[in-house]
């Protein structure tokens, strides 16, 4: 009874999840590897206008953007965009797979098996193609929703209202874009929350996993959304910092863009660890209670 109550309170489950990965740091090992890869790429991009990296990046940046972005401080205007593209590649080819490895470790910890990174990697490797396809599906969904939001922004821009509720709505839609994108990301994460655990733990293929996921998720949609929503709120200060940096009155020196990106990697790892542990634990609990 006590266990059931613990699991069915989102905040309690999140607290338990944080305690779990603190007491079993092996859970965040794959995510630390992911953070290292992201930081390494970010560091290389930080130096892109300088020799020797400029030899590789120079022709690309000059051709796609312009010569100006090869110079200080304009390189910092391009840095977030370059890092965004790099992140997409990392996410598709490595990120989702390392999340799957983390889920395998969480499952091992939950069932009180001996958890090791090597064993988890070995066990998860055969599922690579399925988690890879899932990353494509989830990214496409996020992209589709962002495009839809883009259309909404386009419509809002056409509104002529300068005062009143309409103007407020217009400004909220236009300036709230980063937050809306974060929210849309949360929705996709929620809807697909159990897919990786099903692929990894149940050894299901992508479409079977998606089907099973939808069967379970819609019965506890709000609960899972809360599990995703609360930790993701930690990302809001990063967005606030970013938007304040982009303000025309901003007096902050350009390398702060880089520092914010560094911070976002660290915060994202914490959020991912919490969400993955919580949703996987919840999935395992649901499975046990069946």
């Amino acid at each position: 009874m006590e266990k059931k109550e613990t699991v069915y309170q989102p905040v309690t489950l999140l607290r338990t999840s944080v305690n779990t990965f603190i007491s079993h740091p092996i859970i965040i090992y794959p995510l630390i590897i992911l953070a290292f890869i992201q930081l390494l790429v970010l560091e290389l991009l930080f130096f892109y206008p300088r020799f020797p990296l400029s030899v590789f990046f120079g022709p690309i940046v000059r051709r796609i953007w312009s010569e100006g972005y090869m110079h200080y401080p304009f390189n910092f205007a391009l840095l977030p965009q370059l890092y965004y593209y790099a992140q997409l590649i990392i996410y598709i080819f490595i990120g989702v797979f390392l999340s799957a490895v983390a889920i395998e470790i969480i499952a091992a910890v939950n069932s009180e098996r001996k958890a090791s990174l090597k064993a988890a990697l070995r066990k998860t490797l055969p599922t690579y193609i399925h988690v890879f396809l899932l990353s494509i599906i989830s990214l496409s969904a996020v992209y589709g929703l962002s495009r839809a939001y883009g259309l909404l922004i386009h419509r809002a821009i056409q509104l002529k209202a300068e005062t009143g509720i309409l103007a407020m709505l217009k400004n909220t839609i236009i300036y709230g874009e980063p937050y809306a994108n974060l929210f849309l990301g949360m929705i996709i994460t929620t809807i697909l929350a159990f897919t990786i655990p099903i692929i990894v733990i149940e050894r299901k293929k992508i479409f079977a996993a998606l089907f099973l996921n939808f069967q379970i998720i819609f019965r506890s949609l709000f609960f899972v959304f809360t599990l995703v929503f609360l930790p993701t709120l930690f990302y809001v200060p990063i967005l606030l910092l970013r938007s304040s940096l982009m303000a025309p009155t901003s007096q902050i020196i350009p390398p702060f863009q880089f520092i914010i990106l560094l911070l976002s990697v660290v915060v994202t790892i914490f959020i991912d660890a919490t969400v993955l542990t919580a949703t996987t634990t919840y999935y395992l609990h649901k499975k046990e209670s069946k």
């Binding site: 092996i26 090992y29 630390i32 390494l40 300088r50 020797p52 110079h71």
Partner: protein, 296 residues
Amino acid sequence: MKRTLLTFLSILIGLYIILTLWDGKSEYVAEQMIWKANHKLAQIQKNPEAVPESVYKQITALYTAIMTQFSHTRLGPKAAILAGNVYLVKKDYPTARQRFNDVFTQFSNNKEACAEAAMGIGKSYEAENKWSEAVKYYEKTIIDYPTTDIGLMMPVYVASYYRTQKDKDSAQMATDRAIRFYKNILSANPDAGIEFKTLHLLSNFYISLERWADAVETMGKVLMKYPTRQTAAATVTAINQISLLYLSDSNLAVNVYKEFIKKHPKHPLNETLKKMIASFQIIKEKNITLKVQDKK
């Protein structure tokens, strides 16, 4: 895991140090330094009198460091000019002139920098109300560095000065001289990048003189020789405005557009130009006047 974390951290820090040191003397480092100095200069410009002496020293030291360490880059001469500008802000004009004079000796091969230095000296004299001294240096930019941006812009500046001073004779002389100067530049540099800049300056100069027909004719040359999509659209808009609002005569514009269509038969702007020619025709037939009222 602690060991892995330490390894990761060492790799990241090590790589940062290596990449920083590898490129320690490049233009990028100079750009960082000059941005920092410019940022400080912009701050003190808001209230130069309230800024302590040490801050001025700090900024000039930064520019001097860039000038000496990065003299091989394009930012070396730029820093030398900016060091002079610091003294202009400080209103220490003799020192400013001294710094600008250093540019002539240290970067004698860099025409743009020398022109900028000559202008800096001129500005310092102008700030001291010594126009006769200032104009000598402005003339220097025109004579010694005629094809630099500063050299090209200076005849207009000098003519505008006399006009604002209401010195009609000098203004007329400077105006005639400026137009002669631009025409000489155009005949000496046909089809060169400088031609575009000169035509632009000349057409703007004609606009400031309210010589509308000359302005349209010069813009027509810009349109004919540089028909890129962006330039062409902006030039056509300007020609239309002048023809309708100031000239009340569309013949010049129509001739320019007809010649353009003949010379560039496949240009994407042609359809619009044909419509404009037709509209001008209607305006002419219906005798519609849009002329701006003379304020005088």
